[in-house]
Every structure is written in C-alpha cells, then in structure tokens.
C-alpha cells in the first residue's frame, strides 16, 4: 500500500516573543491511501500544527513533508495552492463557509477555482454530494440559515467536491454536540468507505477517535504511539 502522506523528522518551532516554542519535534508519520486516521492528543500537543503541515498551509522548520509523492518544500506558493486545490480537501473546526454564498455555491466554489467542468457537470456533482450529505433541498439556503451540523455537512461536501485524494479535518466535531459530531464522523467514514478517500482528522474526544481506523497519539510535539482500532482498514 502506498503512502499518500509521508512526514519525515519534521520539526516546527514558533517564535513567541524572544522564546522559541517547539510545536513539533522531529515527527515522522506515514499515512496510506484509504486510511481513516485520527490524530489524538490534548490541546497544545501539536495536532493542528501537524495537520497544517500536511495540508501545505504551513511550512516546517525542519524535515520533509511529502503529499501524494511530492516534496512540499520544493513547491512554489502557487504550486502548493494548486496542490491544495486538486489533492486536498479541508474541513474546519468552525466550518468556514463563505457567508454571502448559498450552500450550493459554497460547495461549487472549489470546482470554479479548479475550472474544467461545464456548468451542467458542476451542478450534477454538487447536487449528488448535497444529497449524499443529506442536504438535498438546502442548496439555495445561506449558511446562516443552517444548524451547526448542517453547516459542517456543507463543509464536508465542499471538501469532497473536487474528489481529493486526501481530506484533512482539524477538530471537525469540536463545535458540535456529541450526537451531531458522531453523525459527521459517520458521514466522513461513509465517504471514506465509498470512495476510498483518505481522511486525517484531529480530535481530543475519545468517542470520536473510536470511529477511526487508526489513531496516532501525540503529546508535547512528539508522536507517542500509533494504534489500530477494531478494523481491517490498515
């Protein structure tokens, strides 16, 4: 099985005034395609930093991050943006929908950035996804008209609309009640199973991480363990 994400001896330091705060200390991690991986750890442990490095929205202080076989340190800013557009989907803790666009337009947005699809194709794909996340009929609504769970479903649809190889989700359930959070994780897992999309999500909620196929534990910027959860996925 090939590694879609390869993190090798990656360090990340933050400058906080005059002191250097290490967020990650020589972390190495391989994620295979099709995994449904949870990164677990208390807050401040470096989960988000690790996800940002994998998602090419941040650059490591040391070490190398390879996504889909590409060494991200050798890519230009434009190329990184393009990599995010075509290979990675993002689900955010606070949903991050564009408030002035409708649900449909929010989901369609990455496709428009990508280009290449006709209007008909885009509409078909967006509609299918909205149906898949259970939001058929909500296309014309504004995000403000939806509940938190519904908004995160829109975000899931938006992350998947470009059919990315990898979806990153930083604390996707943190702003949701536990039942809704569980539903979102179920939805993500279903997409993982159906399309084989790799999911990496961070959480500090044991209930949420129990849905994962594998759990990477992280503390104080170091990976403390990797365990498989009750399944044959890995």
């Amino acid at each position: 099985m090939s590694a879609i994400v390869s993190v090798q001896a990656v360090s990340k330091d933050y400058q906080l005034g005059k002191t250097v705060v290490p967020a990650l200390r020589e972390v190495s991690l391989e994620v295979n395609a099709g995994e449904f991986l949870s990164i677990a750890g208390p807050s401040g442990s470096g989960k988000t930093t690790l996800l940002n490095l994998i998602g090419c929205v941040d650059t490591p202080t040391g070490g190398a991050v390879r996504v889909s076989g590409k060494d991200t340190s050798r890519l230009s800013e434009r190329a990184l943006t393009d990599l995010r557009l075509r290979t990675i989907g993002f689900i955010f803790q606070s949903f991050n929908l564009v408030s002035v666009l409708t649900v449909f337009q929010n989901v369609e947005f990455p496709l428009l950035l990508q280009g290449g699809l006709s209007g008909r194709e885009r509409r078909a794909r967006v509609s299918a996804l909205l149906e898949a996340v259970g939001l058929q009929g909500h296309g014309a609504h504004r995000p403000s008209e939806l509940s938190g769970g519904q908004r995160q479903r829109v975000a899931v649809a938006r992350a998947l609309v470009t059919r990315p190889a990898l979806v990153l989700a930083d604390e996707p359930t943190a702003n949701l009640d536990s039942q809704t959070g569980a539903n979102i994780i179920d939805l993500m897992k279903e997409m993982n199973r159906k399309d084989g999309t790799t999911f990496i999500f961070s959480t500090h909620d044991p209930k949420v991480m129990s849905h994962a196929s594998a759990i990477v534990r992280i503390a104080d910027g170091r990976i403390t363990g990797r365990e498989l959860v009750n399944g044959p996925t890995a």
Binding site: V57, T81, D82, R84, V100, Q105, G115
Partner: protein
C-alpha cells in the same frame, strides 16, 4: 457556461453580496464617489459650455481666430485691454501688404484691419446743446427765414435757457446760504451769481432779440460753464474697415440708425456703452434697478446698493429739469400729477417723487417714467445723426480732436448685456488713423496746402523760441472783448469745403487698406487647424518683409481669455480634493472590510484560491461600487444639466457672465468627453483606493482559516 465565466460570476456575486451585507459602508463610499461624479460631469459640462460660449463671444465679436500684430511691439496685444490700459503696439505701416501676404495662406478666409484705442468724447453739456440750437435758430432768423415754426422753436429755446439759468441760480443761492462769505471762492461765486441774475433778467431777454449773437456770446461764455456736468466721457473704439468687419463678425448688429455707408467716415457707438455712459443718469439708474430686481431678484428694501441708486436719483432731479423747456415742463407736470395721483405743483418735487421708488411702486414708476416723462427728454447724450468730437492724444503727444458722425448703435448678438464686448464702438479706419496721429498721404498734402494758403513757413528751430514768446509787440497787449466771427474762426470757405469734402468723401478700398493699422483679426476657413495656420501666417508675413506675430484669439483676449482656464483649474482642484478624500476614505473602509474577512479569505486560500483570485475578488468590489455609483452620479449630473436646460439655462446675472455665457443664459450641453472623463476618473480612483486593501488581502495566509476562534 465555462468555469472561467462561472468564476467571474461567483466573483461578482461575492462582491455584490458583500456590498449588500455592509450597506452603511457601501453607502458612504458610494456617496462620495457619486458626489465626485456629479461634480465632474456638471462642472466640466458647464465649463465646456462656457468655453464654447467665450470662444463664440470672442471670435464672433472682435477676436476672430487669430490676431496678428507687429513683432516689434512693446506690449502683447490685448484686444480687451489690460489693467495697464491699452497695449502699446508698434504700428503695421501698410495693411494692404499684410492683407495680401496673409490671404496667400490657404486656410485664411479674411483679414480685418484694426486699431483699438480709447479716448475722450466731448458731448457738450445740456446748456451748450440748447444754446447751439438757439444759435442755429438765430442765424436762420438773421438770414431772413420767416417761418412761424422757426419762430416758435426760437422762443421755446430762449425760454429753456432762461429756465436753466433759474435752476442754476436757485442751486447757487442755496449754496451761498451756507457758504463762508469771506473766502475768495465766495467772491468768485458772487460774480457767477450776478451773471445768473443777469441771465434771468427781464431786461436781458427783452434786449436779446435785437442782438441775439451778442446775447448768445454772454450765455455761452459765462453761463454754460456753470453747468459742468457731462463735459467729457471716455470712449473705447476699434478703428476698422467697417464692411470687412461686418462680414467677418456675423454677430455684429446695427441697432438704431444704419451702417456707415461704404467707404465713408463714421462711427457706430456701442449700444451697451451708450446705455452705460451716454444715457441720462436717472434713467440709467432706473434700468439698473430694474435689472437687479428682475434678473438678480434683489430688493430695494434689503439691498444697500439699490438704496444708494435710489438716493442718487433723488439728488439728480436737476438732470431732468434742465432738459425741460417751460412748455415741456408744464406737460411733464400734468402727466406726473396724473401718474402719481398728486396735487403737487412743483415739478421738481413731482420728479423726486417719481424717482423715489420702492419695491411696491417700482414697476408703476418705471413705466410712468418711460411712458410719460422720457418722451419729453433727450435720453441719450448722443443721438443717431449727431456729430461727436473725439479727443485723443496722438502718438506724437499732441491732443488731437476729430469730428465724426454717429451713424448708429452697434451690438453683438448674444452679448447685448455684456460690457466687455458692448463697450466697444466701431469707427472707420480713416478717422481712426487721424486720431492715431499717423499722417496719411492725403492728410500730409492737406496740411501742406493749408500752410501755404495761410502763408506760414515751417518754424525755424533756432528762431522757434523767439517766434513763440519773443515778439510780444505783435501780440495783443490786452484782450479785447470782440465779436466772434464764425467764418473767420473756422477758416475761409475753401478750407471749410475741404473739411466738408473729407467728411462726405467716399474712400476706395485701396485708400482704406493702404495705411497704418495696429493689428488685424484673421478669420480661418478651418479653425481646427489654428496652430498650423499661425505658423504659415507668420512665415508668409515674414517672407513679405513684415515682422508680425500671430497669437490665438484666446491669447489676444488676455485676462478675459484666462477665465476659463482659471475656472477649470479651480474645478480640477476641487475634484482633486474630493477624490483625494474619497481615496483615503474608501481605502480605509476597504482595509477594514479586508481585515474583517481575514478568515474567509484564509479559507478560500486554504481550499485552493490563488492570491490573484483574492486580489481580483477584492478589487471587483471597489471597482463595482465605483462604476455603479460613478454611473449613478454621472446620471444625476446629466439630470441636473437637463433640469438646467429645461429651465432655460443659468441666467447671466452680470455683465461679465453675459460675455462668458455668450448670451443672457448658459444652456449647458452634456459633453461626451466630460462624461468619459468622469467615469475614467472614478474608475481610476476606485482602482487606486482598492489596490492597497486588495494587496493586503493577498497577504492573508491559509493558516488564518485554521484559527478556531470565530
């Protein structure tokens, strides 16, 4: 729909919805841009129209397209004069040569010779005028004319003079009542007082018929000078080939009277000038009050200047009373008693009542003045058919007087109320040359003949002093009171005939052309090729050996021509300030908006939007506001202009505005250029003010999307 179009439509939707979401910000930014656009459209359209109006005013009344004058001149040519008076120009000695050279330039349609100057015109005072009439009557009676009409006129004029003496006497009496009796001035005035008593005396008038010329001499020498008003007024004129002038300047209109016949000497007085300087003062003040009330909507009750005019009129009843002989005075009294509903017997008080106008009675009194009193008066100092004496210092320093016949009054269409154009009188070129002091061949010959017939030799330089002062024995030891011999004074009959001949002579076009001028207006066939034609004109004249300089009508009009340029500068500074403020405010607001949307922008960047996308997205917003509100502002501007047009334009409330507007009102046209400029400026300002916030937006990293606080 392709994705690029899709992306563009999403951009627009994002922009539009963001604008709608923050309405207050949009309204403020939009409002400023709208104001700027309105100002640019209205302001520049008005100025374009004024520019066009001025162009027409100047080109159509005096300037032509190009003015030429001698390159050796000390001053620049300013056809409307400058603060320093008229420009000191070197004469162009032979206009014919200049004309021939310039007509050789293909784009030149016509060349009109000119000499612009100012002088004094002696119109005589009222007593002089009446005395002159009386003298004419007396001469005819002495010559044996028995007609009863003549007799009646003679008696009326006599009575008029006597009445004038009474009025002056009364005035002097009241002055004496408060004067210090010990001063020498009082003693001098006492002599005047005695003269006036004599002029009022029954005995004087009883003896008058026996020796009218003797009586007239006394009246002319002793009484007429006591009324010193209106002795001389200034006059500004252009000496020109009147026919060529009329053809070249189609705005010229002769009102009252007629055009000076072809080739003859004569003057056309500026109609505005006549109103302003030659009209009976009280009548002129009434006109000014009427214009102030009707055009400027001023009111006597609240306007100090109008009150001053009314007060001045109250003290000017004498101007009117002096004009009325006893018959007319009686008629005036009856008419005014009726008009004013008054039993007052004193005409002076009646006239004072008539002139004491207020806002309630103004229209009624104004009508009464013109309908009933004015027909009994001579409203203008000079009338069509009169001969006036113009006095000017010549180039050589002598005062020169020339008599010239007034053929009519002239005005320029659309500029009737403008002093800048209307102050100018038009004079034939021959008379102008006489005043200018440049000897024409004809005058030189005439003078030589005069000298010969008078037996005068040229003054020897060495003997000049002795000739003038030394030979006291030849001069009269004391002045004897002697009878004026008109014939001897004017000259012998041949000379008189020569003078008369000069007056009636018809000059040929060659005679008019061959002589000195100061400048010339050039009319072009295609005014659009002005600069090119100016070069050709200078070259052509240079080749003919005439060192002339060609300047545009605008340069020739001096300060007047600068007005538009100056106003344009003011407008542009105002627009600049508005848009500078707009730039700062828009920039600020958009920076705030960008900062508020850092998370949204970060999210877009995270999910794959390039920096360029963010840049365009934010720019579209400002440019969208700019164009929408700019277009709206332009629309409102056009609306304002249309309303102005529908109401007949902006009224010209002053002389100057009449000239700038080229008529009584400015009817602005909406210029396509000003519209394009307005939208262009708005576009540039919105791009400039949106650029910094947009660049700020592109610096937002995708990391911003990851922060958990919302």
């Amino acid at each position: 729909m392709t994705s690029r179009l899709g992306a563009a439509s999403v951009l627009l939707q994002i922009a539009f919805r963001n604008l709608f979401a923050s309405r207050v910000k949009t309204a403020i930014i939009g409002g400023i841009i709208l104001l700027g656009a309105v100002l640019v459209v209205v302001g520049s359209s008005l100025l374009d129209s004024i520019d066009l109006g001025m162009r027409q005013s100047i080109q159509g009344s005096l300037g032509g397209n190009v003015q030429v004058y001698s390159r050796d001149s000390k001053d620049d040519l300013q056809i409307y004069g400058s603060m320093m008076g008229s420009s000191d120009l070197e004469p162009v000695p032979d206009f014919a040569a200049l004309k021939q050279a310039l007509l050789g330039v293909p784009n030149v349609k016509a060349v009109v010779p000119m000499g612009i100057d100012r002088a004094m015109v002696g119109a005589g005072n009222l007593i002089d005028v009446v005395l002159a009439k009386l003298r004419a009557d007396a001469n005819r009676i002495l010559a044996g004319d028995p007609s009863p009409e003549l007799r009646r006129d003679y008696e009326a004029h006599k009575a008029h003079v006597r009445r004038m003496a009474e009025l002056l006497h009364e005035e002097l009496k009241s002055a004496r009542a408060i004067a210090d009796t010990s001063t020498t001035e009082y003693k001098e005035r006492h002599a005047e007082y005695l003269d006036l008593e004599r002029a009022m005396d029954e005995g004087f008038w009883a003896r008058f018929d026996a020796d009218p010329l003797g009586g007239l001499e006394f009246l002319e020498n002793r009484i007429a000078p006591l009324s010193a008003d209106n002795a001389f007024v200034f006059i500004r004129y252009v000496g020109t080939d009147l026919d060529a002038f009329a053809k070249a300047f189609d705005r010229m209109q002769v009102v009252d009277g007629q055009m000076v016949p072809h080739g003859q000497r004569g003057i056309l007085l500026g109609k505005w000038y006549a109103e302003e300087y030659l009209k009976l003062r009280p009548a002129h003040r009434l006109d000014k009050i009427r214009d102030a009330r009707e055009i400027q909507r001023r009111r006597i009750a609240t306007d100090e200047e109008l009150q001053r005019w009314v007060k001045e009129n109250a003290g000017a009843t004498r101007d009117i009373l002096l004009q009325l002989d006893p018959v007319k005075a009686e008629e005036a009294k009856v008419r005014l008693q009726r008009d004013l509903g008054s039993q007052e017997e004193d005409l002076g008080k009646l006239v004072a009542d008539l002139l004491a106008v207020d806002d309630q009675n103004f229209d009624r009194h104004y009508r009464a003045f013109y309908d009933d009193l004015a027909p009994l008066l001579q409203l203008y100092l000079v009338n069509v058919g009169d001969t006036i004496t113009i006095k000017a210092p010549t180039k050589t320093g002598y005062m020169k007087s020339v008599n010239v016949k007034v053929y009519g009054f002239v005005q320029f269409k659309g500029l009737e109320k403008s002093g800048i154009a209307g102050v100018m009188s038009l004079m034939d070129l021959m008379t102008w040359r006489d005043l200018y002091g440049h000897l024409t061949a004809e005058r030189a010959r005439e003078i030589a003949e005069l000298k010969k017939s008078a037996g005068l030799e040229g003054l020897d330089r060495d003997r000049a002093e002795a000739d003038m002062f030394g030979a006291a024995t030849d001069g009269p030891a004391e002045t004897k009171q002697s009878r004026i011999d008109e014939v001897r004074l004017v000259g012998h009959r041949d000379e008189q005939a020569a003078r008369q001949d000069r007056f009636d002579r018809v000059y040929s076009q060659d005679e008019i052309d061959q002589g000195v001028v100061l400048n010339a207006a050039v009319i072009l066939k295609d005014p659009g090729r002005m600069r090119e034609s100016m070069r050709q004109i200078e070259a052509a004249a240079g080749k003919a050996g005439l060192p002339i300089k060609a300047i545009t009508w605008q340069e020739a009009s001096g300060m007047v021509g600068q007005f538009v340029t100056l106003s344009r500068l003011v407008l542009y500074v105002a627009v600049l300030i508005i848009f500078a403020v707009a730039l700062v405010i828009i920039n600020n607001a958009m920076v705030m908006a960008t900062l508020q949307r850092v998370k949204e922008i970060g999210t877009m960047r995270a999910i794959g939007a390039q920096r360029r996308f963010v840049l365009v997205m934010l720019m579209v917003e400002t440019v969208f506001i700019g164009l929408v509100f700019g277009a709206l502002g332009a629309g409102i501007g056009i609306g304002i202009l249309e309303i102005i047009r529908a109401r007949g334009g902006i009224p010209a409330t002053s002389d100057q505005l009449n000239f700038f507007f080229s008529g009584p009102a400015l009817v602005p046209a909406v210029g396509g250029v000003s519209l394009a400029v307005a939208l262009g400026i708005v576009f540039l300002v919105s791009v400039a003010s949106g650029l910094y916030p947009a660049i700020l937006g592109t610096r937002v990293t995708p990391l911003e999307a990851m922060s958990s606080e919302d």
